[in-house]
């Protein structure tokens, strides 16, 4: 491994790490942003390799008192439906309602409810796609993608017009009639965990999809007595600590400066050697 290749490789890695620090700093105010970390390891042939990580530790909670602002306190992600039909996962709990009153994200994606076992229906779960299969009229039966004659009804988190949502720490939504105070159960928000959140593929804007490195989404205990809680009226801030980022920035800058001095020294060596060879020819 030539001197210059190794020094350039190291400088490249360090510049990349600097880029990640800048990305963190610029996202310090993004809701539920998880900071990027870069660490260096020495590979077997003596080169420096950089390893990138997303740090999924908890961000602080900011109170907003907006009834549709939710933050997860603990491990876990909300489950949403992406436009492709695929499941996406996010901790950005800044929700609103569409024209039907259904709970959606700022980008318009449906928030997926947790499936409940109800008395008259059999629950069918295929890769966590929520379906309620009910025995309906023959006229209403349609053939769905599985080739079965079933009427497919998807549960939604719809909050009727004059109802205020009261969202408990276990994610269940109670609709409170604003005039009468009557309560009715609307549904329960799905919160899932992954073995390795760092293995999730980032789609941007706080959305993630699972990959083989992250493991499959798993249920977890959510509630006041559990390690994961859903907090209504709060938003999760980024987990970027400005002080640490600036310290890292200084450290990176020192490393890069040292690396460039090395490159300059190597260049001088080559220059001198070339001159000597040329002169003695």
């Amino acid at each position: 491994m030539s001197l210059s290749h190794q020094a350039l490789g190291a400088a490249n890695n360090q510049m990349n790490a600097l880029g990640k620090l800048v990305e963190n700093i610029s996202n310090a105010n993004s809701i539920a942003y998880k900071k990027e970390e870069v660490s260096f390891v020495e590979t077997l042939n003596g080169q420096v390799a950089s390893v990138e990580n997303k740090d999924f530790s908890q961000g602080a909670l900011k109170r907003t008192d907006d009834l549709l602002d939710l933050a997860i306190d603990g491990q876990g992600f909300f489950e949403v439906e992406l436009p492709s039909g695929q499941r996406g996962y996010t901790r950005v709990g800044r929700f609103k309602q569409n024209s039907d009153g259904e709970l959606i994200t700022q980008e318009g994606y449906r928030v997926i409810p947790q499936i409940e076992q109800t008395q008259n229906a059999t629950r069918s779960v295929i890769e966590r796609k929520p379906l309620i299969i009910s025995s309906g009229d023959a006229a209403n039966l349609s053939v769905n993608e599985l080739g079965l004659n079933l009427k497919v009804v998807e549960p939604k988190l719809t909050i009727p017009a004059n109802f205020n949502p009261d969202i408990k720490e276990d994610g269940s939504i109670i609709g409170v009639d604003s005039s009468t105070g009557d309560k009715s159960t609307i549904g329960k928000i799905s919160v899932v965990v992954f073995n390795n959140p760092n293995g999730l593929e980032s789609l941007g804007k706080g959305y993630f999809i699972p990959s083989k490195d992250s493991g499959a989404p798993q249920d977890t205990e959510v509630g006041s007595n559990s390690m994961t809680k859903v907090k209504q009226g709060y938003l999760e801030l980024s987990n970027v600590n400005m002080a640490t980022q600036f310290m890292e920035l200084t450290k990176m800058r020192d490393l890069i400066t040292a690396q460039f001095k090395v490159l300059k020294a190597i260049d001088k060596i080559y220059e001198n050697v070339n001159y000597t060879i040329a002169r003695s020819a």
């Binding site: 530790s57 965990v193 760092n198 994961t228 040292a258 060596i269 003695s280």
Partner: protein, 212 residues
Amino acid sequence: MNYTQKDLGPTIGGMLYKLKMIEAITNNIANSGTSGYKRVIPEAISFKSVLGEAAIHDYTQGPVSKTGNKFDLAIEGNAHFLVEGKNGPEASRLSNFQLNSKGNLSNVLGQELVVIDKTEKDISLAKSDDITINANGEIFVGTEKYGRIALQILDNKPVRIHQGSVESSNVDMMGEMASLSLMLRSFEASEKALGMEASIDKELIEKYGRNV
């Protein structure tokens, strides 16, 4: 072929040797941010190692520096972690760990950490924020013991694990830069000597070679 210093001529031999030392120093500087890196000792490079023998490392403990990540584990003392390699348990000193897709702790190379005394209960490290690892390597999820980290201890001195920290490299940047400058000057001196040798040879050949 085994060249000795005599075969290559003292000046060139000296230059190659100094070049090798410069390579060791630049390697140290490049890896000063790598956790667990042990610096190469430039002065310990003998002439033989110019031709490929392994470099000698300084194995003193690097400083333990906090990162705040709950799965970063620094070892203080003369010990290694045991990780699952291709052919069974291997020793490793890499200190950054995270959970893999199976929910087990693994290092940045994807090797799973060997955890012994694992609890029978169904506790998942992925679902909890409250995970403490004490100085003996015992992992607790809340108050429940999850297991113990297996360590390969190399001598009798006490060994401690620091959670939330990594072992930084033992490279002293100022020292390395100073060594680099010295080596550079020394190399330049060699190569000026080489230039003079070459021009002496040239003159000799021109003066006396002509009448042959």
